[in-house]
Amino acid sequence: MRFTISLLFVLLFYSANSQVSGYMGKRAVIGYSNYFMLGLKGPGPVNSAPSDDPSLTINNAHCLNFEYAYKQRKMVCLSAQYIRTGLAYDKGIQNGFFDSGSSELYPYPGSSRYSGSFSKPALLTSINFGLGVKMFKNGFIAPTGRYRKLEVLLLFEKLEYDSQNFKVDVTEYSSQEDDTLKVLGKGEYSYKNIAFAYTIGKQRILKDKFVLDFGIRFAYTPSMNIITVAASDAYVSDVEGYFRRASNLRIARQQLFNLHVGLGFLAF
């Protein structure tokens, strides 16, 4: 609270003494944005197919923004984002047979496969915090006009999955164990990640009060580089690692390209 008050005080002080005009003297924008894009390889929070099957969904992220013009063409942006999506279970079957060498099999204790309902995917939520700079194009005055935005996102992901419905593939083991249900991992994992985003957009002020923001964003997650995406299970040593990789990939896909529309208001 003390920090917030201090921050507001500093911002107000600068507003009163600076030569940054903002829009009609107002330099801070508080708003909501929605990032969205058609996801061809879903799933969404409610799934209808296993991972390899196409499942159309709309990737969706809700975002709260606080932006402040500290220079005539620059705004500092703080944002909190919430993503709720699904992570499809691997079916682990190709051509009607268990594919023993496939990375689609879960590493517990050897290869396992999911035997629950594929129509209800694992729930993946991600709370992201972003810090960025909006740079308005030559001639424009923040917060009005065309801009480019560079942003760093800190991603806090949480995966909740059905850990009770996994079966071990009997052909893989000499333990003579039957094809029985196993508990795979904890059923809930949390991961941290980082992403870099680049946005091209445009802001308009409506009725001297409301801020309409729209554009397109590209976000890159370094942890999901080409090696990790192509990597086999050899890089995954345990269930948590497996789900981390899968979650990161899902979030990375979701973040890669998004359109966005936002509505806010000029605060002060």
Partner: protein
Amino acid sequence: MGKSMYKKIIFVWIVFLFFSRVLVAQYATNYIPLKSSGALPEEFLKTARSLSEEDIKNIGYGTDRMAKQQFTISSNYFLRDLLLSGDVLINDPLGIYVNKVADELLKNNPELRKQIHIYVTKSPHVNAHAFDKGFIFINAGLLAQLENEAQLAYVISHELTHVVKKHSVNQYIENMKLERGTSTYETGSYEARNIAKYRFSQENETEADAEGLVRIKESGYSVKALSGAFDVLQYSYLPFELVDFKKSFFEDEYLILPDTVFLKKTSEIKSNDDYDDSKSTHPNIRKRRGAVEPELVVSDEASRKKYLVSEEEFKKAREIARFESCRLYLIDRDYVNAIYASYILLEKYPENLYLKKIVAKALYNIAVSESSSDRIKSRYSFNIANNARLSSKSYSIPDYERIEGPSQRLYYMLDNLDAKELNTIALSYAYKAYKKNPEDVVLSSLTDSLFSEMVNSNELYIGDFSKSSKAQLVAVDTVKAAVEVDTTAEESKYSKIKKQQQKVEITTDENFTKYAFVGLLQDNEFVKRYTRAAKGLTRKAEEKKDNLTYKERRKLEEQIAKENKNKYTLLGIEKVLFLEPFYMKAKSVGGEEMINYFESEEKQVKLLEIEKKCAERLKLSYEIVGTKNMTTADIDRYNLNSILNDWLTERFNHGDNPDELIVGTDETKSLIEKYGTKYLAWSGVYNEKSRKSHNTYFFILFNLETGEVMKYETRYTKSKDTSDLITSFVYNSLMHVAKKPK
């Protein structure tokens, strides 16, 4: 010759002498520039849209309907622009007289007379023009050159033909067809079609000359009196009178200009009337004269008159037009012509304050231009939406070799004087004019500025001028020499050198400025003001630059830039005058720019609303000066707009050199007092849409007192000209105006 004829001649002479004396008496001491009066005519109050909508209804149907509509809209937009520019005079003595002449001309055609609106425009150029809608504009510069009333009637008659025959719209349609290759007038190559445009226009002019003459023949005006009408056009580049220029105009007992700056013989007037007119909208004068002069014969010439209104009124109107021209030359930055025209009139009215001020202002501007041309090395350019331009326009006196007639002497003389000499002559002239009119604030501030120029730009201090005249020095020297014959005292080397130098100075004309102020230095006020100017030396930093190393120079320049940045970033101004903004929306179609006149007009209104909104938020007091939403009673607003228009035209003519600006005028001073602010803000937007939209926004803030540009800002954006975008620009500009520096 019968007795009655003698009586008539004597009567005419008495009347002439009486009126010439009345004229001389009227302008003996001063002249007040023309301004509009009475009620504003209805046509000044309509928007371009309403003017056009009325006309479009009457266009009817036909193959050229679209082209006619386009022409009507653009023509009405320019007409309204002209009507509200402040250049058009309403109910002024010149306009009243010109309309009386039109009444006489169209006595037999009252219906046509009703449709015609004739106004005089404040322009020194010898020209007149007409709009198809029935508006005829006669420049004051043309009235100043005419010989008689019949010639004026012929000019009006010529323009009437353009109106009646709808020449402008026909020309527009034909030009479009010629460009597209669909015209039957010329079907040849592109070049041939291009030349045909001029030919078509020339045919219109020939028709206007011929029909104009027919109308004159139908009136009671003398046809013979028109014989000189084409001379007026041919020699329009010359001043309105040819008077021998004497250098004594600038001289006094002590300020004697050397003969070397005085041209012994001036060029003959050798105007060619048979010039190549293949790319001219008008046929050359020889052709026009050749077509009209054989027709200047009528059987009833004896009963016709040169003057149907009155000779006195004509002469009075012409004299007013000549007085006006002096001022208009000055605004046009035609300083030498302004001096020469004033010189001609000063021969008649030697004590006229108005003319003396014109000369003083013109000399001032020439002097400061000459001094600042060296000082301002790197000039910059303000380009305002391709419309107005405040650019690097250093003034230089036109080449005297290209001038014909007696005014060439003045050009030669001014061109051969250096900055110091010009400054000295300007100060001498202005100060003497001020001493005769000590209550005149403009002359007073002008002399102050000239004192400042002496010290700051030309490094001429009071000690550089001799208190004794050459004659006195010669006398002293002779007496001294006589005394020294009897003395045996030794003379030092240095004393001998000084004596030698003094002898050279006395015997040569070169240093005439040294003795220019002998008389004025006996005036305490002159000495006091000169000394005061020396104390206010302001250009030390600039002068220092020449003696610095590269590093030191850079450091100094950075320091100056920083100071200037702080000085101009936040101005803390409490009140401004908003000049009606500029707004133009254009569309590029196939490389051709089409202006959306209606939308431009609407956006202009919106931009003014934005300015008001932003100023209110910033608690910046404002007054709007302009011509929007005027009523018939708003003649004062119209005149105010005219004053500002003159001021801005002059300011833009001066480009980026504020020193050159006339230090205040009577009109702007009263305006500043009336509104309680000396700051004038003008903004505008030029929006062009080709594949994408582009905006150029500008904002400029002037100090009306000094002419200084306090703030200048342009913004170029690739975007639509949305209201929020323009609001953010305007607010930003006004914030810097209103906010006080820390």
